[in-house]
């Protein structure tokens, strides 16, 4: 196993770069980060639409959320990879395919995180802002969102973990991310499949475990900071209802 790592670690980390396309672990992390970053404005817009008083905004977004969560991400990848080119007329490459699929996936999940964050802010805050004469939009922007966005930070880190895990679907369409590179290494070495796939799993584990611990730490720090106020867990309306009872 040590031999294996010594021979292949650069290939596993960056793929064939700089001779060929960037790949491996670096591509995995880059793809996940880029997808989450691009999905943020989409998630914010969709989340605001989800809690909008205007039904014409709320309903289509609700349908979209159910649709995207009702089908596997892999199916979305296939639609984009195989079907989209027949509409646009030119081939979508693997990286773009995965990026688009992940942005849609993250956008929808972030929308739910934003919605939970907004609903986690005590209702009195919104009512007070409206009573002071702020419009819905201004009340959201000046009063609700600054509080909601802060409480969303741990969920955002957890979503990053989900995104990193989801990039592994790129393997199926031949994107040279970490899982694909590991399979390439496996077919070169042939005799150590257990070790190769254990190292791959270990890499994902280290990456995702550290990030989820970080999210957990953020959550605890926020809970501690929120202590003087009535205790509530971010994003759970039942918890805040119970504590106010």
């Amino acid at each position: 196993m040590i031999d294996l790592i010594q021979t292949y670690w650069v290939y596993f980390l960056i793929g064939q770069y700089p001779q060929g396309p960037l790949g491996g672990v670096v591509l995995t992390v880059l793809l996940a980060a880029l997808a989450l970053l691009l999905a943020m404005p989409i998630g914010l817009a969709l989340g605001l639409a989800r809690v909008s008083p205007v039904a014409a905004l709320r309903r289509p977004v609700t349908v979209l959320v159910y649709l995207v969560r009702g089908i596997p991400l892999l199916l979305m990848v296939f639609w984009i990879y195989f079907y989209l080119p027949t509409v646009t007329g030119h081939k979508t490459d693997q990286f773009t395919t995965m990026l688009v699929a992940l942005v849609v996936f993250d956008g929808v999940y972030l929308a739910e995180i934003v919605r939970a964050g907004i609903q986690g802010v005590p209702k009195g805050q919104y009512e007070a802002a409206r009573a002071l004469g702020l419009s819905h939009a201004r009340a959201m922007r000046r009063v609700i969102l600054p509080q909601a966005l802060r409480s969303m930070l741990p969920s955002l880190v957890n979503q990053f973990v989900s995104t990193i895990k989801a990039t592994s679907l790129g393997y199926i369409i031949g994107l040279t991310e970490a899982s694909f590179i590991a399979s390439q290494i496996n077919s070169q070495v042939l005799v150590h499949p257990t070790a190769v796939y254990l190292v791959l799993s270990l890499m994902y584990f280290l990456l995702c475990f550290c990030l989820s611990r970080f999210a957990f730490w953020l959550e605890r720090r926020q809970a501690r900071r929120d202590l003087p106020r009535p205790a509530r867990s971010p994003g759970s309306p039942t918890a805040s209802a119970a504590s106010s009872a």
Partner: protein
């Protein structure tokens, strides 16, 4: 965009492929959900155990499984794990339909880690005094759990468990990575031999959506029928 050729879905070879894929996916989905649930209960109880080695083992399982993507799990169970077995057994495995077994193992272990967390937080939602009162009345750890805590926790855990079931149903699609002939695999096969992606992927979308929405509807019904009781 050319019109949809529904004839392709209604009869003929492609119809047979897609239907066979649906059956394999249903089999895989139901099998993994049915196996993951008891495993998840055991792990959740381990994580709540008064004895620390069991607690530690339970959280090690959950963290190790949850932080690795399902694709890596399946690749490991299909390509990696059989290497540890004797050659003769290995050959017999790959000669049969080992991909289905590997997918079932991977999906069950993966789903169980998430279900265990749902069950654990459901149990923790039940006030500790319930458990303490049961123990004070002379019930042991397991009887107190079974007779007092779990029946109450069940109402809290069923909705998240059903959303986990939706995720597991959708996750069966990933079994295509190791060549299990489920819906995605067959849809891709139809796409590549007939060049009819809208029909093939439309069929797959309808199957997954139907399963997900049905489970979501059941969850909503259960939530109304047996609402969560709080003290």
């Amino acid at each position: 965009m050319p019109g949809l050729d529904l004839q392709l879905l209604l009869h003929g070879q492609y119809h047979d492929w897609l239907l066979a894929g649906l059956l394999v996916a249903l089999k895989l989905g139901m099998l993994t959900i049915a196996c993951a649930l008891p495993l998840a209960i055991v792990i959740a109880l381990m994580r709540l155990s008064p004895w620390w080695p069991l607690r530690w083992l339970g959280s090690a399982y959950v963290e190790l499984i949850r932080n690795v993507p399902l694709v890596a799990h399946l690749l490991f169970w299909y390509f990696g794990a059989p290497e540890l077995l004797p050659d003769a057994v290995k050959e017999r495995l790959y000669a049969g339909s080992y991909e289905f077994v590997a997918a079932a193992i991977g999906l069950t272990l993966y789903g169980a880690a998430f279900m265990a967390e749902n069950i654990r937080s459901g149990i923790r939602a039940i006030p500790a005094v319930q458990f303490e009162a049961a123990r004070a009345l002379g019930l042991g750890f397991l009887p107190a759990m079974r007779r007092v805590v779990l029946p109450q926790a069940l109402r809290v855990t069923v909705p998240p468990l059903l959303s986990q079931a939706v995720i597991m149903w959708n996750d069966t699609s990933i079994a295509t990575v190791i060549g299990v002939g489920e819906i995605m695999y067959q849809a891709a096969r139809v796409e590549s031999s007939a060049f009819r992606s809208p029909e093939a992927f439309g069929f797959a979308s309808a199957c997954y959506l139907a399963g997900s929405l049905a489970l979501t509807a059941v969850a909503a019904w259960i939530h109304r029928r047996w609402p969560v009781r709080t003290l």
